[in-house]
Symmetry: C2
Subunit: 223 residues, 2 copies
């Protein structure tokens, strides 16, 4: 690979790592704001989503520059376009963390998540954070094993999503319609975050190994 192109791909990789770390932090902070009904923390997550959007635009601009200046072909070209796909998934993961924070803000000073759902939401947030961390990790150091784990993480997320629905649609539910609707939408935000992480991870595997890892997840909602 040409040296200049190699340098550009490294820079794209650095931007993508920054995005992955930002959306990981965003989801962790959004969940903390949600579970502690912390308005200021929720506001910070919403404000900081602009940083993720800015990183996304930087990736787009850098990709346009690389395509125009270097005119990469074949495999190199696919690598550059792949960076765009990863950035789009990470940007969307940032939006979903923002949605979690907005739910916390909307219900403040109330708690959006009733006590019996806290363990499930915590577990979903842990998986979400771990998945974003793995994307950053694999961008830094090609690691097909770790990338492959994202599929299993997503299966665990889907199981938690079903568990969440079984609680809020179950006979014991005593928190009414509004709390159930909040919880259903929150569940969808975490589940979609994981879907985008799986998609991003597949593209990352291609970016760092040059080998495709199959098609993306279609994000079918839980029953």
């Amino acid at each position: 690979m040409r040296t200049e192109l190699h340098a550009d791909l490294l820079e794209l990789g650095r931007l993508l790592v920054s995005m992955a770390e930002a959306v990981r932090t965003a989801m962790r902070n959004a969940t903390e704001a949600l579970l502690s009904a912390d308005l200021a923390a929720a506001e910070r997550v919403v404000l900081r989503d602009a940083e993720v959007d800015s990183l996304y635009r930087q990736v787009e601009e850098r990709v346009q520059q690389v395509l125009a200046r270097q005119q990469p072909v074949a495999g190199d070209l696919r690598l550059v376009v792949t960076a765009l796909h990863i950035a789009a998934d990470l940007e969307r993961m940032g939006d979903l963390a923002d949605h979690v924070a907005r739910t916390a803000r909307r219900r403040h000073p109330g708690q959006a998540v009733p006590g019996e759902l806290v363990p499930v939401v915590c577990a979903m947030a842990d998986i979400a954070e771990r998945m974003a961390g793995k994307i950053a990790w694999v961008l830094n150091a090609p690691d097909a094993t770790r990338a492959g784990e994202l599929e299993r993480d997503d299966d665990a997320m889907d199981a938690l999503h079903r568990q969440l629905f079984s609680i809020l649609l179950g006979p014991e539910w005593s928190h009414g319609v509004e709390a159930a609707v909040d919880a259903a939408l929150l569940g969808r935000y975490y589940e979609r975050y994981a879907d985008h992480a799986v998609n991003a991870g597949k593209h990352v595997v291609f970016l760092v190994t040059g080998e495709s890892a199959g098609s993306g997840s279609d994000g079918v909602p839980a029953p």
Copy 2:
């Protein structure tokens, strides 16, 4: 613009029109399946989502070919990359129609949408269908006025989304938690469909006029 590149852009435009028409039909059929609890119609929508996914892959492959063979620069390059963005939004609109159909399938033989929500859901579906139709229209014939209408359509969709929530969270709601959760998620599918339509429309304006129409919608959920 070079003749060969022009021909490629025309072919990309044709693929995008096919996608826009497919996701328009998908959302109309999914809504009909939903409101009439028609299992066979819902199954057809789910099956046909593969056609949208296939068109999306054709756009991706064609873009890669154009970049590799023609090595477009500057404005031409941005046009080609823009086609990718439009295809990604349209593909996601197809997924959201698929989610509506799956909701119909999950509740069959029951009705997923209680009577008092039918007018709102019908209105949301009408706007969704109109928006997809405008994308196809503007791809066929540059029309900044029609493209600009997409923002207003999206405002109308957001108002309906709020109306839907005010009904399902209101004191008159008598259909319990499950129907409310279904309705909240359905509302989100239509609202996200409109967000993607706005994004796609902005990119289409750029594709057909070469002029940018601002940044995308971030899909913030209704209160």
